[in-house]
Symmetry: C2
Subunit: 350 residues, 2 copies
C-alpha cells in the first residue's frame, strides 16, 4: 500500500462529544462523502449528530459498513481509554478501524492484539505510507487542478471538494485527491503530504495523481503556502509533483498577515498567483491560474459581494465563495473546461 485506500462505507464514531468543534472530522465526512457513511455511534452522553441512524458495530456491518472511523478529536489528539471497549467491539464485528489521532491505533496493545486475532486492519491516517518514490517530473496524461493559498487554513480543501462536485455535476470525470487527514477520510484514499519525508514529497504528489484519461480532472487539495516561512517547502513539493494545468488561488477576505505569524504580511493576490505560476512552469509550462476562491465567512452578505467584485475587477478572473455562493463558484468549472481544449502535452523543457 503506497497511498491509503480505505475500507468503506464507514460507521462514524462520535464518542461522547457534545461540541461540534471536536467532531469536525465526522461532520466533514458526512457532508462531503455521505455515500461512504452508513450510520453513527455514540457513547453515553454524546449529543453531536451527523443525522445518520445510530447503529451498533454489528448492525453497521450488516448494513454494509466495513470500517469504524474515529470522527472525534479530544484535546491533544489522544485516544481516550473509555473508547477502547467500543473499538474492540467494532473489530470483533468485522470492521477495520480508521483514525487520524496523534495516538496511533497500532501503538495501543489491546487494539493491535484484537486486530491480529480478528484479522482486521488498523489505519492511522497521520502515518504516511512506506516506499514512496522520489519525483521524476515526467509529464502525465489527464488534467490537474491544484488549489493554492495565500496562507494556511483558509479553504483549500473545501475549494477542491466544491470544484470536484461541480465538475461531476457538469458530467465531467473528476477525482478529489486528498493530501490531508480529513481529506483522505472523505476521499477514502490519499497521502498525508505534510507527514512525508521531504525528499519524497514531490514523488508522493506524482503518485497521488497518476496518468489518466485526457479529459479526466484530478482536483488536488493544496497544503500550506509558498509564502509561509514554515511550510513553503511542502507547498513547493506538492506544486511540482502535482504538475497542475490549472491553479485556483484560495484567500480569506480581509486576512492581511499569516495566521499565527503576525510578523509576515500576506502577499497580494497578484504576487501569490505570479510566484505559484513561476514555480509551477518548471514542470508544466502551460499552467494557468483561472480563478480565485474567496473565503468571506467573516463578512456580511453586502461586504462579501463587494470583496468578490473587487477581486474580479482587480484580476479579471472569476471569483466566488464556494460556501456562500456555490452556484457562482460552479462557474469556475466552465472556465476550466473552456481552457481545457488548449491544453496539450508538451515536452518538459522549461
Amino acid at each position: 500500500m503506497i497511498s491509503f485506500e480505505l475500507p468503506q462505507p464507514y460507521l462514524l464514531f462520535l464518542a461522547d462529544s457534545t461540541e461540534p468543534g471536536f467532531a469536525k472530522t465526522a461532520l466533514g465526512v458526512k457532508d462531503w462523502a455521505p455515500e461512504r457513511c452508513v450510520g453513527e455511534l455514540h457513547l453515553p452522553g454524546g449529543t453531536v449528530t451527523t443525522g445518520l441512524p445510530e447503529l451498533t458495530p454489528a448492525q453497521a456491518y450488516e448494513r454494509g459498513a466495513r470500517a469504524l472511523l474515529v470522527g472525534v478529536a479530544a484535546v491533544g489528539g489522544a485516544l481516550l481509554p473509555q473508547w477502547l471497549s467500543t473499538l474492540v467491539e467494532a473489530l470483533e464485528a468485522g470492521l477495520d478501524l480508521i483514525s487520524g489521532l496523534h495516538t496511533r491505533l497500532a501503538d495501543v496493545p489491546l487494539l493491535a492484539q484484537t486486530a491480529a486475532r480478528t484479522g482486521r486492519r488498523l489505519f492511522d491516517i497521520r502515518v504516511p505510507p512506506k516506499g514512496l518514490p522520489t519525483g521524476t517530473g515526467r509529464r502525465r496524461t489527464g488534467k490537474r487542478l491544484l488549489t493554492v493559498g495565500t496562507d494556511c487554513a483558509l479553504g483549500k480543501k473545501y475549494t477542491a471538494l466544491a470544484l470536484t462536485r461541480a465538475f461531476r455535476a457538469r458530467g465531467v470525470s473528476a477525482d478529489f485527491r486528498a493530501t490531508g487527514q480529513t481529506g483522505i477520510m472523505i476521499a477514502g484514499a490519499g497521502i498525508p503530504i505534510d507527514a512525508v519525508v521531504s525528499d519524497f514529497v514531490a514523488g508522493a504528489a506524482e503518485l497521488l495523481s497518476p496518468d489518466n484519461e485526457a479529459d479526466h480532472w484530478d482536483v488536488i487539495e493544496g497544503q500550506g503556502s509558498l509564502f509561509h516561512p514554515a511550510y513553503a517547502g511542502v507547498s513547493l513539493g506538492l506544486l511540482h509533483g502535482s504538475q497542475p494545468d490549472v491553479l485556483v488561488l484560495c484567500h480569506e477576505a480581509g486576512r492581511t498577515v499569516l495566521l499565527g505569524q503576525p510578523g509576515f504580511r500576506l502577499p497580494s493576490l497578484v504576487e501569490a498567483i505570479e510566484l505559484n505560476l513561476l514555480l509551477a512552469r518548471r514542470v508544466n509550462p502551460q499552467v494557468r491560474c483561472l480563478a480565485v476562491s474567496l473565503n468571506t465567512s467573516h463578512l456580511s452578505e453586502a461586504a462579501a459581494y463587494a470583496a468578490i467584485r473587487d477581486v474580479q475587477e482587480q484580476l479579471g478572473l472569476p471569483c466566488a465563495d464556494p460556501l456562500r455562493h456555490p452556484v457562482q463558484f460552479a462557474e469556475v468549472v466552465e472556465t476550466c473546461l473552456a481552457y481545457a481544449p488548449d491544453l496539450q502535452l508538451a515536452p518538459v523543457l522549461s
Copy 2:
C-alpha cells in the same frame, strides 16, 4: 537530542575496501576534519588508506577516540555481516558507533544488545532526530551564508567547507552547518535535512543555525536545487529556515541538464540567483548573492580559467573553483566581510 552531536574523535573503519570510491566518507572526514580522527582500522585485504595510523579499537580508545565511524559503503548501503565482530569489539573497547548506512545499527540485534550491555550509543546519521519544531521565521542574530545550486551533486558541501576554512583562516568566527550525512560526520553535528518530515524542514534549518554573535558566520551546506522537480521543496524549506544573509551559487561548468533528469535543462546562473533571492527575501529582505563557486573538475586548466572568466564577466561577481584555485576562492570571504557591515537586523515584513 534534537540535532546530532557526535562523540569524537573518531577511529575510521575502512573494512576491506580496495576502492577509494567506496571509502569516500572516511576520506572526506579525514580531509576536512583531521582533528576529529585518531586512526584507521581495516579488515584483512583492505588497501584504501587515509594515511592515519592503523589502530585496534582498544588502542584508539587509549589515544582518545570515543567513536568508531563506519567510513565505507558497500553497494546498496548495507552493513555486512563480516564487519560485526569488529563493531562489537569497538563497543566493548568503549567506543560508540557512527554510521550513515541504509542498514540501521539499532536494527542489528547483536549491536543493539552489545550497546545496551556496555552502555554505549549507536548513531544512525540517516535517521533524523525526533522532536523537531516547525519554523517560525523569527530573525536570528549573527550572519548566515547558504550554498545553493543549479542542480544536485555539484559541490555545495565542498564549497561550504572551503568557505568555512577560509573564514577561519581570516580569523573570523565561523561554523560549517551540516545538512547531509557526510557533512554531519565532518562537522560532528548537524541534521540530515532531506530525511526530515516535510512539515519540519524549515524548523530544522532554524535549529541548525541558532542565534549567535553579531560577527559570527554560519556557513550552511545547501541541498538539492529550487529547479529540481524532485527536491525543490527541500531546497526551499532549507532556504527559508536558514534565513541567509549571503548566498553563494554553486554550478558545474558545462552541465546543461539536470543530473539523471535529461528532460530538464539547468537554469542560467542569472535565473538561479534571481529565484533564490526572490524566495529568500521572504525571511530576509537584505539577502544578497555574492559569489559563484564553479566546479571545473572536468575541464583543462585553460578551459577552467575561461569558464571562470566568463562567469565573472557575465555576472560581475567573484567566481572561482574552490578545489582548483583555493586561494582565489578564499577571496570570496573578503567580499562577504566587506558586505557584512551593511547587514542589519530588519523587521521581517517582506
